[in-house]
Amino acid sequence: MARVLLFGRLADAAGWRERTVEADSLSALRAALTASDAQLGEALAGPGVQAAVDKTILRGDAPLTAASEVAFLPPMSGG
């Protein structure tokens, strides 16, 4: 289980910004999100989208606990 945060156009596309999702790894989380919303799953895998677990950007898979916070970050635009 993890708290999932979406930013920028990802939140607009999904229609939500924050949600708790049952998943014990980042790859399982991606699969769960894709299963509930195929378009979102595609957007999360899109170019330039990064995943941060507990505020650290990760490539590849990672285990998740109930306390994990996963953020999906579209390309950063600067301020």
């Binding site: 930013f7 505020k55 970050l73 390309p75 950063m76 635009s77 301020g79």
Partner: protein, 148 residues
């Protein structure tokens, strides 16, 4: 050495006053104020999203690296988040050093970073609706000047 992300409008002059007060060994304070342009009505509002606990830490990391590179005595970033009206300040950066070249270069560098690579997501609201903004080619070119 501080980074403030805030939803409320702020007054750059007041921040500069506080930043410069009581400096007897600082020769140079450079500052930059970024303002949301109205674009003659084409832009009605700017919306900036940050990731609290991530965006501020990233900016602090870049600021600390700049402070080391240019021997800054102090630096400061104030950045708006949320809805920003035309004419309102979006960002304020100030740098303090003994001599002016270091203060100017560090301030310039921090702005290039903030405008092109800092973890913000920016939406422009105009008469034809809203659109998410990506960094411009010039932002990327400006930021690359510092990769030596």
């Amino acid at each position: 050495m501080s980074v403030t992300l805030q939803a409320e409008p702020f007054e750059p002059g007041a921040v500069l006053t506080a930043f410069t007060a009581g400096r007897t060994e600082t020769g140079a304070v450079a500052s930059f104020t970024g303002i949301a342009r109205a674009e003659a009505g084409a832009a009605t509002a700017l919306e900036l999203e940050a990731y609290p606990g991530f965006t501020d830490i990233e900016i602090t990391r870049i600021g600390a690296a700049a402070a080391a590179r240019w021997s800054l005595q102090d630096w400061l970033v104030v950045h708006r988040v949320g809805q920003i009206a035309p004419g309102e300040p979006v960002v304020f950066v100030a740098t303090a050093s003994r001599h002016r070249r270091e203060a100017f270069e560090a301030c310039d560098h921090l702005m290039d970073y903030l405008k092109s690579r800092a973890p913000f997501w920016k939406k422009e609201h105009g008469p034809d609706g809203a659109r998410w903004i990506e960094p411009t080619d010039r932002d990327r070119t400006d930021a690359q000047r510092w990769e030596t």
